[in-house]
Amino acid sequence: MSFSERFDHLFFGEGSLVRLAVFRIVVLLAALYAVWVFRIGVFQHATAGEAAALVDRHWSPIFVFDVARIGPPSLTTVRVVFGVLLGAIAAGLLGLFTRVACATTAVLATWWIAVHYSFGKPHHDCIALTFALWALPFGPIGARLSLENLVRRGGRPTAAPFAKFPIRIAQLSAVLGYFFAGASKLAIGGIEWLNGYSLQAAMLHFHAPWTAFFTSDPRLCQLMSIQIVFVQATFLLAFVPRLRWFYVPMAVFFHLMSWMTMDTGPYLTLWFVVLAAFVPWDRVPGFLGAGGAAWSTFKRVAALALASWFLWIFLMQAPAGSEFFLLGLGMVLFARGIWERRKASPVPAATS
């Protein structure tokens, strides 16, 4: 297989449409979270009201804004963009005009996040999310788990070309981020970065619930430093399907630990994208159902508990009413799945 054929297969070959649909939903949930959480800052800076008067509102734009001479937005602009964004995300989640909705979300969410960063400083939490959003419209994202498919009576196609493309872009962005985070520590800080004090200092800059315990001993910090740099610098291995069992949980664990020991917050805009991109969602039902009845039940209960926990983290800062929206979305998808299953099941042969 030539390079171009391999490239073509990796990015544009046939991919699972169910996996892409779940990827779309999770990425849009992460976008909703980012837009909602950043709204406080964006609106505050746009209104220049009483709360804004108490903080330094220094407009320090990102490079693109600076060169394009784009200044801080007006309140009207922010209100319009916010409304359109929420509408586009909702349409994307439901699968209505999916491609247009996702393209609109990509452009406006990027602007929204960039405005927030231009009033403070850029962070790393939304990089993979941003690239995932921009890649979404190029896949057949409305082919499954969408209202437009329901209306079109599009049936249950399983795979299509270009379905891998958005997922690959998100995977690459996440992997590059982790790799450079680990490699930069070694390249800039050197091997001495692993002395324990460096990680201890990074955590002590903040005052999170578990900071005191995990910084109590530099030797404990040294062990954690080695583990963090190892996982980050070798994250490229997450492309090996078997090794994802190690790297994906480690990435989630890393962010949850950072939340508890530093001031990063849940950081779910990154690890939701990691989960969305690396978990083969189309194979999850088969995986959960495999094995004996007890083992299968255990896996289902564990998966449900894990999903509930992650959703709880999401709902902690998500827009009010998200739980009802998600519940409704889940019920629609569930009902549609049952209906399709019944429709697809063979009619029992008549006995004579």
């Binding site: 108490l54 330094d56 060169v67 050197g190």
Partner: protein, 471 residues
């Protein structure tokens, strides 16, 4: 009480401003060493055989360790300054403690004027708040009188030949705006208000614009001269010593990153009284500056147009058999995007978001290093201080400095505005003041130890602000 009547109204030089105190005998008690200090109401610090001990109300006495491996040596005097720090004049230098501190820590002086005095014995201490509301610490260190900024530990030194008389300085005191100095020869006093505020320096940029990567001269003009010039860039909270970047009357700056900047200059006299800042606003050009319209087109128009065309192509061809064009275009775009991410990783920076590097948390800390954590301190009307969260009442911030800097810059009015906004959200709050502070932790092999914070600003407004629920 020190005798104010003997003071001359104004003096041209600090040396002439000192006046001998003729009836010094009755002041002798004033200069007795103070060997007990209040860290907060009910919490006392005093010398012990091993260094210092702390007692809170009637609780058992506990030893307070010291992070200095040499120890403090003999403790000569303790002083609680207005910001709540407890300074310890000791044989091995100047040390500091605080109600929050788990250990005392030796102060490392900042700047060429004070650094020679580090680790010299400190004999006596006094502190006040100047007419601009800034705290000051006076210390007899060796044969010199040091005037120290207790927020950042830079300052001025009055050496033996700048002090009155021929004797060795022994102790220093402040009462009602008068500084008293006890020497081996006699007692002298200096009214701290006699110095005129230094005239503001003026800066003249000797070129039209800064060019990225090329140092630029800034001519300085001072109408009356100054004792020390300090500068800062972009509202940074630390005023840097300008002597290191001065070449004659020119300030030689390495241009900062491209974009808009503000350079502030301030003249500081030998009692740390500051002139009003002089601001120079300038822009450092990007390597290739683009006209407004062209920049907008190139940075936003072209990528958005490409994105739109790609989406249209995807919509038109993805479902059909003709997929060569979208593959070609998407493949090129994907390689470009991934390539830019790799480039950003190799050459870390943040402003190119979403193409950014990952150089965060790459700094190396070693045993003995300090970690700083900015915090907002509330002062209860009874004198207790406590950490306040969240930082921004009713709003959002990305960095605690966005709240702390206005408090540092604008003093009491900003602090009161913040307090009123906080009370609207937390009606049970009662405040007698606010502090912007940086809590500090020293990294030791036995584990991290919290030491006294930096009190970056201190606004205690005397009266009490109370929330609705506390009225």
């Amino acid at each position: 009480m020190l005798n104010l009547a003997l003071l001359l109204p104004l003096a041209a030089t600090p040396l002439q401003a000192w006046r001998p105190v003729e009836s010094a005998e009755r002041l002798a008690a004033e200069f007795e060493p103070r060997l007990e200090a209040l860290e907060q109401p009910g919490q006392v610090l005093r010398p012990s055989s091993g260094g210092l001990e702390r007692q809170q109300w009637q609780e058992p006495v506990v030893e307070v360790p010291c992070t200095d491996p040499r120890g403090m040596g003999e403790v000569h005097e303790l002083l609680t300054e207005p910001g709540g720090l407890v300074f310890i004049a000791a044989e091995h230098g100047l040390y500091v403690s605080h109600a929050l501190a788990e250990a005392t820590d030796r102060i490392e002086f900042i700047g060429a004027q004070l650094e020679p005095f580090e680790r010299l014995p400190v004999h006596s201490l006094a502190a006040d708040i100047d007419r601009d509301g800034r705290r000051r610490l006076f210390a007899i260190c060796g044969d010199a009188l040091l005037v120290i900024d207790p927020s950042f530990y830079w300052g001025a030194a009055w050496t033996a030949d700048e002090l009155p008389g021929e004797g060795v300085p022994r102790a220093v005191r402040i009462r009602d705006g008068v500084l008293g100095l006890l020497t081996s020869e006699g007692t002298y006093q200096l009214a701290l208000g006699v110095h005129e505020r230094p005239a503001a320096p003026r800066v003249v940029l000797e070129t039209d614009s800064f060019k990225y990567g090329v140092p630029v001269d800034v001519a300085l003009m001072s109408p009356n001269g100054w004792d020390a010039l300090r500068h800062r860039l972009d509202m940074h909270h630390v005023w840097l010593e300008s002597a290191e970047v001065l070449e004659g009357a020119a300030l030689r700056l390495e241009p900062p990153r491209p974009g808009s900047h503000a350079l502030d200059l301030v003249a500081v006299d030998d009692l740390l009284v500051r002139s009003e800042p002089t601001r120079l606003e300038f822009a450092v050009a990007y390597p290739s500056s683009l006209p407004k319209g062209l920049g907008l087109v190139l940075m936003l128009g072209v990528p958005l147009a490409c994105f739109g065309v790609l989406v249209l192509i995807a919509r038109r061809y993805l479902a059909g058999p003709k997929r060569a064009l979208p593959r070609l275009l998407l493949g090129t775009a994907a390689i470009a995007v991934v390539g830019l991410q790799v480039l950003a990783g190799l050459f870390p920076q943040a402003k190119g978001w979403p193409f950014v590097g990952f150089s965060m948390y790459t700094g190396v800390w070693r045993e003995g290093d300090l970690v700083f954590r900015e915090s907002l301190g509330g002062i209860a009307p009874e004198g207790w201080s406590f950490d306040m969260r969240p930082f921004a009442p009713g709003g959002a911030i990305d960095n605690p400095r966005q709240v702390l800097n206005p408090l540092i810059e604008d003093g009491e009015p900003a602090a009161k505005a913040w307090a009123r906004a906080a009370m609207a959200e937390r009606p049970q709050l009662r405040l007698g003041g606010l502090q912007a502070r940086a809590r500090r932790t020293r990294l030791l092999s036995s584990g991290p130890v919290e030491i006294a914070p930096l009190i970056l600003s201190h606004a205690a407004w005397g009266d009490e602000l109370v929330g609705e629920d506390s009225k």
